[in-house]
Symmetry: C2
Subunit: 129 residues, 2 copies
């Protein structure tokens, strides 16, 4: 695999934010530095980075995938109202779960715990109306 400035820029942006952006948001940001970058390049590199284990893909079920350069064991909270993904310090004892559940299964590469609900700021907005 060869170096590419575009891929580097995508990684850099992802590492600088905690916002779990979608491919399109990443595209818009990287465009500031590389105005000619194409969306296809963003997608291709995201797939690459996920396969390399350098980036985590977060599927919320809202129609777009979110990406996170923080690959440490942590959970996410998804607000089905504003569609934001937030980090959660709380992580279950994934190691124990993995040990307990891996019997009879194949490999386990990713364990993703996702909470869904309506976040505090959306609840505040709703109570105003």
């Amino acid at each position: 695999m060869n170096y590419s400035r575009q891929r580097e820029s995508i990684k850099e942006y992802l590492m600088s934010t905690h916002e779990h952006p979608t491919a399109d948001i990443i595209y818009q940001h990287v465009k500031a530095d590389y105005p000619k970058i194409s969306l296809g390049t963003v997608y291709r590199n995201l797939t690459l980075l996920v396969d390399l284990g350098e980036v985590r893909k977060i599927s919320t079920g809202d129609g777009t995938e979110h990406y996170d350069a923080d690959t440490s064991a942590h959970s996410h909270y998804y607000c089905r109202c504003c569609h934001r993904v937030m980090d959660l310090e709380v992580t279950p004892s994934v190691d124990q779960i993995l040990a307990a559940s891996s019997a009879g299964l194949g490999t386990i590469e990713i364990a993703n715990l996702l909470f869904t609900g309506v976040c505090q700021s959306c609840l505040n907005e709703q109570s105003k109306e």
Copy 2:
């Protein structure tokens, strides 16, 4: 909300299987009883049932959503090779997690734990080659 035979059939099929089918698979099955049913009807009713909490949507990140009529607390194992979703008895102490993590957040409606890897049968296939 009014009764509909199509919705009943969708629910019935979902309750009869442990295969976590996609909308299209559900469509093909319900078609056996209702040959004129349209895919749009399947999607609309799935969304309805999920909103009612009678069906669970499982997002694996493989481009299609999976559905499950078993709404009890349980985990899933996703094989990134054959794209099947399987049930896992093992469930972390979600109640504890919820209690611990709900501080400062909004509501928590769904907690989904998804394991991803390559399942035993896919590993067997691969070792043959």
